[in-house]
């Protein structure tokens, strides 16, 4: 096991880089960060649409969210693999395909988190803001969103963990992320699947567990800050099961 480790660890961590494309854990992390980075603003927009009084915004956003929640991620990956090039009339790489899928997938799930955060705020917050003469937009921007996003920070970190795990789907379309790299290593060793896949699990575990702990710590801070404030209606959210995608 030690030998496989020393010999193949670079492949698992950075893929073929610098002799070839970056891959392995590095690519997994890049995908996750980009995925979450693009998904976050999209999710806020989706959440705003979901709670909007206008049916023309509410209905399509609801359809998107339920569609994404009802279809396996693999199938979504296949869909974008074939649809995205058709739609934009241009070839896109497997990496882009996966990224697009992850962004849509995560945005849908995260919008539910953001929405839950907004709805968990006591109604009095909005009423107080409106009573002061703040309009809908100002109320959202100044009062609702800052609190909802802050309260949901732990869930959002947990979502990052989900994203990391979901990048493993890249394996099926040959994005050279960690799972793909592990399979490459397994190909060249052929006789040590147990060791290779155990190592794969360990690497994922280390990264995801560290982040999960981070979410727990942030959750503690958020809960403490929230204690005694008017927002007591939501329980700790870091592990809120409804809100996680995987």
């Amino acid at each position: 096991m030690g030998e496989i480790l020393s010999h193949h660890l670079p492949s698992l961590l950075i893929g073929q880089y610098p002799n070839g494309p970056l891959g392995g854990l590095a690519l997994t992390l890049i995908l996750s960060i980009l995925g979450l980075g693009f998904a976050f603003p999209l999710s806020v927009a989706l959440a705003l649409c979901r709670v909007s009084p206008y049916a023309i915004l509410r209905v399509p956003s609801t359809v998107i969210v339920y569609f994404v929640r009802g279809v396996p991620l693999v199938l979504l990956v296949f869909w974008s693999y074939f649809l995205v090039p058709v739609l934009i009339g241009q070839a896109v790489s497997a990496f882009t395909t996966l990224l697009v899928t992850l962004v849509i997938y995560q945005a849908a799930y995260m919008s539910e988190i953001v929405r839950a955060g907004m709805e968990a705020l006591p109604k009095g917050q909005t009423e107080a803001a409106r009573s002061l003469g703040l309009g809908y937009g100002l109320t959202m921007r100044q009062v609702v969103l800052p609190q909802a996003l802050y309260n949901m920070l732990p869930s959002l970190i947990s979502q990052f963990v989900s994203t990391i795990k979901e990048t493993s789907i890249g394996y099926v379309i040959s994005v050279h992320e960690l799972t793909y790299s592990a399979n490459q290593v397994n190909s060249s060793l052929l006789t040590m699947p147990l060791q290779v896949f155990a190592m794969l699990s360990v690497i994922y575990f280390i990264v995801c567990f560290a982040l999960t702990q981070c979410a727990v710590a942030v959750d503690r801070i958020v809960t403490k800050r929230r204690a005694g404030s008017t927002i007591t209606s939501i329980e700790s959210t870091a592990n809120d099961p409804i809100l996680q995608s995987q």
Binding site: G70, P72, W79, S168, L194, Y204, I242, Q246
Partner: protein, 232 residues
Amino acid sequence: MSINLNFGSLLAPPHAEHLWAGVKFTVMLTMSSWLLAVALGVVLATLRSVGHKGLDRVVGAWVSYQQNVPLLAHLFLWYFGISAILPAAAQSWVNANNGELIFASIAIGLCMSAYFCEDVRSGLRSVSHGQQEAARSLGLSFVRSMGYVILPQAIRTAMPPLINHTVILFKNTSLAMALGAAELTYVVREIENQTFRTFEAYMLATAFYLTVSLGLMGLGALAARRMQVPAR
């Protein structure tokens, strides 16, 4: 690119039979892994709520291992890794008895059991401490107060996440494709490879998954509503 939809060839033999077999496999895999996940999840949640520190740690470690590793990695580890260290007799028995189904069920079931465990546990925690105190004050023993007062309420709270995770489990069965398990996604991809009717093939699969997922969500909402205590 114009899309010329033609479902005819997909819904005729031999593809129709393959699709049907894929659907059956998916349903079977969903049910077996769900049963495993729920049974184990309840056991784990009970173990965690006993209040034994060491036990809680062990179960907690198991849960966080399952939750922090992608399902695909679990699948590979079970199918190619752990299967290799089984005794030869066990290996050949499994291989002769739909090993893909067995290992996929184990991997998915174990992974989701961690989520079900946490659902049940947070259901238990959502019941206010006052309920336990009130029940004990009436002279009900720990077991009775759990049975008559705490659990009936906990299950109501745990219902929505349990449903949600059931849907996720169902969707995740599609990953068993990577083990050569002939579930629906696998079959659809094969058919797509043979016929190049990409859109039609994926549409059929999508329709199936959507119907079942939304159906489960709907049933869950219905169950939650029926369980709901009358309010003002």
